[in-house]
């Protein structure tokens, strides 16, 4: 009880804390809701991954048997590595296309004398649309018979390029990367724009006076100073891509058609949990643990890596 009486003023917010019952009353609803429906299920996933399930009923402790099943049972043992690879391609493609475009447009708009707000608003708008709706929208656009995309290609004399974009295993995943970039490009653009706005104009002026041209200014000043933003965008893109679900469902169905060429981990996880056999819940929990460790682990490594790069700069 001595804790309450000790008035702490080092936080800069003034007063000492109110009595414990008040603190608890204010915190409890959020704490309970968050713990029961978010944290506890995540913790339970780890426990469940080591148990055998029969439908909804939890059976005996089986150690790592569920994990072993993931890599040995057909067709999971083939689908998992393939989906994992697709997520990797998805991530790299998104970094190269979506985030490079985001940087380009942030730079162009940072120098634009007018219309900045208008273009930012337009570019950000597709983020509002549900990933599923974006997927369905583009599945209609790209329809081989009645889709406007092929129609437009024919109109401008590029009929050789017209093809069943989503029906061909070679183009389906690249198309998903592009459609996803169409939806999300505005997000990295906004983050880059905020990062560019944080760079003081005096640095730019000093560089320009020293004779730096636009490219040198970007390469030597702006890009290095954007390192923290690039780090955040890389991690968010990584998390987003490895959690992709709705957009792939709409464009490739629950099986990642055609011929599994768009199958991603999110779909494999869903199928394992809810379209699997009687022991599905144990297997799905094991898969959840692996995906969790991978996503969380890589995010942290990337963040730390960027933080080191950042401190090397200064």
């Amino acid at each position: 009880m001595a804790v309450i009486k000790k008035r702490k003023t080092n936080t800069g917010v003034g007063q000492g804390a109110p009595p414990w019952p008040t603190i608890v009353l204010f915190l409890l609803p959020a704490f309970l809701l968050y713990t029961v429906f978010m944290i506890w299920p995540l913790v339970q996933s780890m426990i469940f991954s080591t148990f055998e399930f029969k439908g909804l009923a939890r059976g005996a402790f089986v150690g790592l048997a569920n994990f072993r099943e993931l890599f040995t049972r057909f067709p999971l043992n083939e689908q998992l590595p393939r989906a994992f690879m697709h997520n990797g391609v998805f991530f790299i493609g998104t970094m190269l296309i979506q985030n490079t475009l985001g940087l380009l447009f942030a730079l162009l708009l940072s120098k634009a004398p007018f219309g900045k707000r208008f273009f930012q608003t337009v570019y950000t708008m597709p983020y509002l649309i549900s990933a599923l709706v974006v997927g369905y929208l583009w599945s209609l656009m790209l329809n081989p018979l009645f889709g406007p995309v092929n129609q437009i290609l024919k109109l401008i004399g590029l009929s050789d390029l017209a093809r069943p974009w989503l029906g061909d295993p070679a183009t389906a995943l690249p198309v998903i990367i592009l459609v996803n970039a169409w939806q999300w490009m505005g997000f990295p653009m906004l983050l880059f724009a905020a990062g560019l706005a944080n760079i003081g104009n005096d640095i730019r002026e000093a560089a320009t006076i020293d004779g730096a041209n636009a490219w040198q200014l970007f390469r030597r000043i702006e890009l290095p100073l954007l390192t923290p933003v690039i780090g955040i965008i890389t991690v968010l893109t990584f998390i987003g891509n490895f959690n992709a679900f709705g957009i792939v469902w709409a464009l490739g169905g629950v099986g990642g058609e055609p011929a599994g060429s768009t199958d991603v981990l999110g779909l494999v996880f869903y199928r394992t949990a809810f379209r699997g056999g009687v022991d599905a819940f144990g297997l799905a929990s094991a898969l959840a643990v692996l995906m969790f460790l991978f996503i969380f682990g890589i995010s942290n490594i990337v963040l730390r890596w960027f933080r080191r790069m950042e401190s090397d700069l200064t």
Partner: protein
Amino acid sequence: MTTNHNANYPRKRRKIEAGKAATAVLLWGYAAVVLLPLLLVIGNTMRPSREIFKHPVGFPTSINFDSYIRAWQEANFNTYFVNSLLITVSAVVLATAVASSAAYILGRYSFKGSKILSAYFLAGLMLPFRLAIVPLFLLLNDLGLIDSRFGLILVYAATGIPFSVFILSAFFRQLPPELSEAARIDGAGEFTIFSRIMLPLVRPALATVTVFQFVPLWNDFFFPLVLLRSTDKWTLPVGMTRFFGEFQTDWSTLFAGLIITTLPLVILFLLATKQIIAGLTAGVSK
């Protein structure tokens, strides 16, 4: 440099103008990439499907909303829409209410364990929560909340708490301490200070938090897909999957369905562009 300056001037100016033109082409070009598909969708809702199949790209010949009425009545969009609205609004209100009181305490005071609690709430921002679906499914099953809109509201509210606590506590922290001291001397209790004095002062942050939670919940497909069974409880995204199977050959209705699903968010975006951009760049901009 200075001696060459005059000789270079016209070339340099031409270069700058060419750069400006290229910039304009890029900016408008990408704006077209974003807007044209959306305009095409809106236009096609007013064209009969027969005509769309004949000419995929074309202008509507009349202004009519038949396809919207078909989607709304025959494709159950009225039911889905009401469910989406009910579930999303309830979850956002619940999450914001509980998060603001927690954020107030965490933002204004430091006490034993306050730092750990803040970190605990913050951790939720990074967690790929969907992966917890199996235990969540079993938990809701035990509570009798599978195929229940209330169950989905609880889950959604929980997912909104980390971001709301994060943003709101930062705002509460910035308020000057004199405000609450004066009220406390006048004998006001903690809850009065919170609800009457502090909460109104963080209204901009409340707007950001509300708007920013609304969008992903309205759009979410995964949780209703797993947690809701009966079609009369479905939200728009889940309804969409059935709709696309049933109305395969009626493209103008399909397009109308896409518009109905998205329209509330467009309205929200136009009303609260500032809040949405603030939410998207939270943590990066100063």
